[in-house]
C-alpha cells in the first residue's frame, strides 16, 4: 500500500484517540465484520465542537482518516463540521490509494453520525440539518472496499 507521509503520520501518531466520558454526541459507523468501525465522541457547547475523540478498529487508512477528521472539526462550529467532505479529508492527508478512498467517506459519515446523535439527544430531528446518512453498517460502504 502506498500511503502518503501524512497518512503514515496520522496512523502511527493518531490525534485525539480515546473516549469522552462527557460526550453529548456519539456516532458509530462501519462494521467489524467488514474490517472497520469508527466511533466518534463529541462534546458540543454553544454550537461549537469543543472536544472530540475517536476510537477506530480498522486499517491504516481508517485510523488516519479518523484522526485527521477529528483535527479538522475540533473547535469548529457544527455547520462547518457538517461541511467536512471526504474530499477535504483526502486532500488533508495528501491523498489516499484508490482502494482506500472510501475510508474518507467513512470518516465523514462518522462525524455526521455523531452530530445527528447530538441533535437527537437535544430533541431536534437531525434529518433536515444533517441529511440522510447511508446505512452505517453495510460492508459495501466499508473502508477498504468503497
Amino acid at each position: 500500500m502506498q500511503y502518503s507521509a501524512k497518512v503514515m503520520d496520522h496512523f502511527s501518531n493518531p490525534r485525539n484517540v480515546g473516549e469522552l466520558a462527557d460526550a453529548n454526541g456519539v456516532g458509530e459507523v462501519g462494521n467489524p465484520a467488514c474490517g472497520d468501525i469508527m466511533k466518534m465522541y463529541l462534546r458540543i457547547e454553544n454550537g461549537v465542537i469543543e472536544e472530540v475523540k475517536f476510537k477506530t478498529f480498522g486499517c491504516g487508512a481508517a485510523i488516519a482518516t479518523s484522526s485527521i477528521a477529528t483535527e479538522m472539526i475540533k473547535g469548529k462550529p457544527i455547520d462547518e463540521a457538517l461541511r467536512l467532505s471526504n474530499k477535504a479529508v483526502i486532500e488533508a492527508l495528501d491523498g489516499l490509494p484508490p482502494v482506500k478512498i472510501h475510508c474518507s467517506v467513512l470518516a465523514e459519515q462518522a462525524v455526521k453520525a455523531a452530530i445527528s446523535d447530538y441533535y437527537q439527544r437535544q430533541g431536534v430531528d437531525p434529518l433536515p440539518i444533517v441529511g440522510k446518512l447511508a446505512d452505517p453498517h453495510a460492508c459495501e460502504g466499508g473502508c477498504c472496499t468503497g
Binding site: 458509530e28 466511533k39 473502508c143
Partner: protein
C-alpha cells in the same frame, strides 16, 4: 538477519530470497551458457544438458522419473494447466465434474470458476476448524463423471497439511486423476509421489529459495494432458516456449538444497514456530491459533488477535522492519477477508485480525523474538484504539474467539 537490509523477513510463504548457492548455479546461464536448448550445436546442447540435469534434480526430490517433470513459469501455470486441460480432455468423455476444497489457492479456485462458467460442475469440500479435509469426504464426493480431484498439500495461509496419501488412495481406487498443489509443501515436508498416490503435483521455485517465474508440474507417466501453451516442441511437446534455462537450473539447485536440508530445517523451524505460538498466545489475551496445531507446515504461524485489524498490524511491523502477512480484506483491497480463514469457521471480524508469520531457512531465534516483542507492543496499542476491543473488555460484547 536477512539480506533485505535491516529487515526481519517473516513472509516466506509469500516468497523467499534466492540463496547464494542457487544464484551461483544460475549465473553462468545468463551471459555465457546462453544457448537455446533446442539448438543442435555445442552451446545449445550444453543448455539442454543443464535443463535435463535440473529435471533429474526435481524428479529425485519427488521420487519420480525425469520424464514425468515438466517445467512451467510458476505454480499458478501448473495448477491452471493440469486442471483446465484435464477438464477439457475428459469433457469429451462426458466427465464434467471436479472436486476440490474450499481453501485452495486462487490459482485453483479461479481455474475452477472459469470451468464452472463453461458448464463444468465443481464440488468444493468444506474443511473442519483446523482446515482439514478427509479422504472420506473425497470418497463421498466422487461421481461417475468426476474428471479430477485436486486437494492442496499444505495451505499457504494456515499451514494445515492434508492427508494426501489417503486421498490419493481413494482416487486411485476410483481411477480418477489426483492432483495436489504442493507449492507450499515442496522443500518443507518430505514428498514421495508414489507412496502418496499422487498423479500430478504443482510446485514453484520461489517458495524454497529458488527464483521467481519458474515452476514445474509432475505428471504421472502415461497421463494425457493437452497443452495450455502450444507451440514449439519444448518439454516433450507439452509446454512451448524457449526454456528459461537459468530459472530451471535455479529450480533444480534450489530443490536439491531444500530436500537435502529438509529434516534439519523442519526441526529447527518447528521449534521456532511453536515457541512463537506459545509466547504470543500466553502473553496476550484473546489470541487464537489458526490452522492445525501439529498437522502444520514447520514454518507457519497464523494467529488471530481479537479486536484489531491486520493491515494496521502489518504497517506497525513494517515500520520496525518486520515483514508479515494478514488475511484481512483491508490489506488486499477485497471485500472479504481470507476465504481460507472463513472456511475454517472464523467470523469475519476475527479473520480481519489475523496475522501470518512464515519463517525461512535463514530465520533466527533472535528474529522471532524481535517479532514477538514488537507484537507485544503493537497489539495492545491497536487494541487501545479499538472500539471493538473496548466493548469486549467492558463485557458489552462477547468474545468471538473459540
Amino acid at each position: 538477519m536477512n539480506s533485505i537490509t535491516n529487515t526481519i523477513y517473516l513472509d516466506h510463504a509469500a516468497t523467499t530470497p534466492v540463496s547464494a548457492e542457487v544464484l551461483s548455479a544460475m549465473l553462468p546461464y545468463f551471459c555465457n551458457r546462453y544457448g537455446n536448448p533446442s539448438s543442435n550445436y555445442g552451446p545449445g546442447q550444453q543448455a539442454k544438458q543443464a535443463v535435463e540435469h535440473a529435471r533429474a534434480q526435481v524428479a529425485a526430490a519427488l521420487g519420480c522419473t525425469p520424464q514425468e517433470i515438466f517445467f512451467t513459469s510458476c505454480g499458478s501455470e501448473s495448477d491452471n494447466w493440469v486442471i483446465k486441460s484435464t477438464a477439457h480432455r475428459l469433457a469429451a468423455e462426458g466427465k464434467r465434474h471436479l472436486i476440490t476444497t474450499a481453501i485452495e489457492h486462487h490459482a485453483v479456485l479461479h481455474s475452477m470458476a472459469a470451468l464452472e462458467k463453461e458448464g463444468f460442475t465443481v464440488t468444493y469440500l468444506p474443511v473442519d476448524r483446523y482446515g482439514l479435509v478427509t479422504a472420506q469426504q473425497v470418497q463421498k464426493a466422487l461421481r461417475p463423471d468426476t474428471a479430477l480431484v485436486t486437494v492442496m498439500y499444505a495451505n499457504n495461509e494456515i499451514g494445515t497439511i492434508q492427508p494426501i496419501a489417503e486421498i490419493g488412495a481413494v482416487c486411485q481406487r476410483a481411477g480418477v486423476l489426483f492432483h495436489t498443489d504442493a507449492v507450499q509443501a515442496v522443500g518443507a515436508v518430505p514428498i514421495d509421489v508414489h507412496t502418496q498416490n499422487i498423479d500430478a503435483l504443482s510446485l514453484s521455485a520461489h517458495k524454497f529459495n529458488g527464483p521467481k517465474g519458474v515452476g514445474a508440474l509432475y505428471l504421472k507417466q502415461g497421463t494425457p494432458l493437452p497443452s495450455l501453451i502450444d507451440g514449439g516442441a519444448q518439454e516433450s511437446g507439452r509446454r512451448a516456449g524457449t526454456e528459461n534455462v537459468a530459472g530451471i537450473v535455479g529450480l533444480g539447485a534450489a530443490i536439491e538444497f531444500a530436500t537435502a536440508q529438509l529434516a534439519e530445517k523442519a526441526k529447527k523451524l518447528t521449534a521456532l514456530r511453536d515457541d512463537v505460538i506459545h509466547t504470543l498466545t500466553t502473553a496476550l489475551p484473546n489470541v487464537a491459533l489458526n490452522g492445525h496445531p501439529t498437522l502444520r507446515l514447520p514454518n507457519n504461524v497464523n494467529l488471530s488477535f481479537e479486536g484489531i485489524e491486520g493491515e494496521g498490524m502489518l504497517m506497525l511491523l513494517d515500520m520496525r522492519g518486520i515483514c508479515a502477512s494478514t488475511g484481512s480484506a483491508c490489506a488486499s483491497g477485497s471485500l472479504d477477508p481470507s476465504h481460507v480463514l472463513l472456511a475454517t469457521g472464523l467470523p469475519h471480524e476475527i479473520a480481519h485480525g489475523s496475522l501470518r508469520l512464515s519463517f525461512g531457512a535463514q530465520s533466527t531465534l533472535q528474529e522471532a523474538q524481535i517479532a514477538c516483542e514488537a507484537l507485544l507492543d503493537i497489539v495492545p496499542r491497536l487494541r487501545a484504539m479499538s472500539p471493538v476491543w473496548g466493548d469486549i473488555l467492558t463485557g458489552k460484547k462477547a468474545s468471538l474467539l473459540r
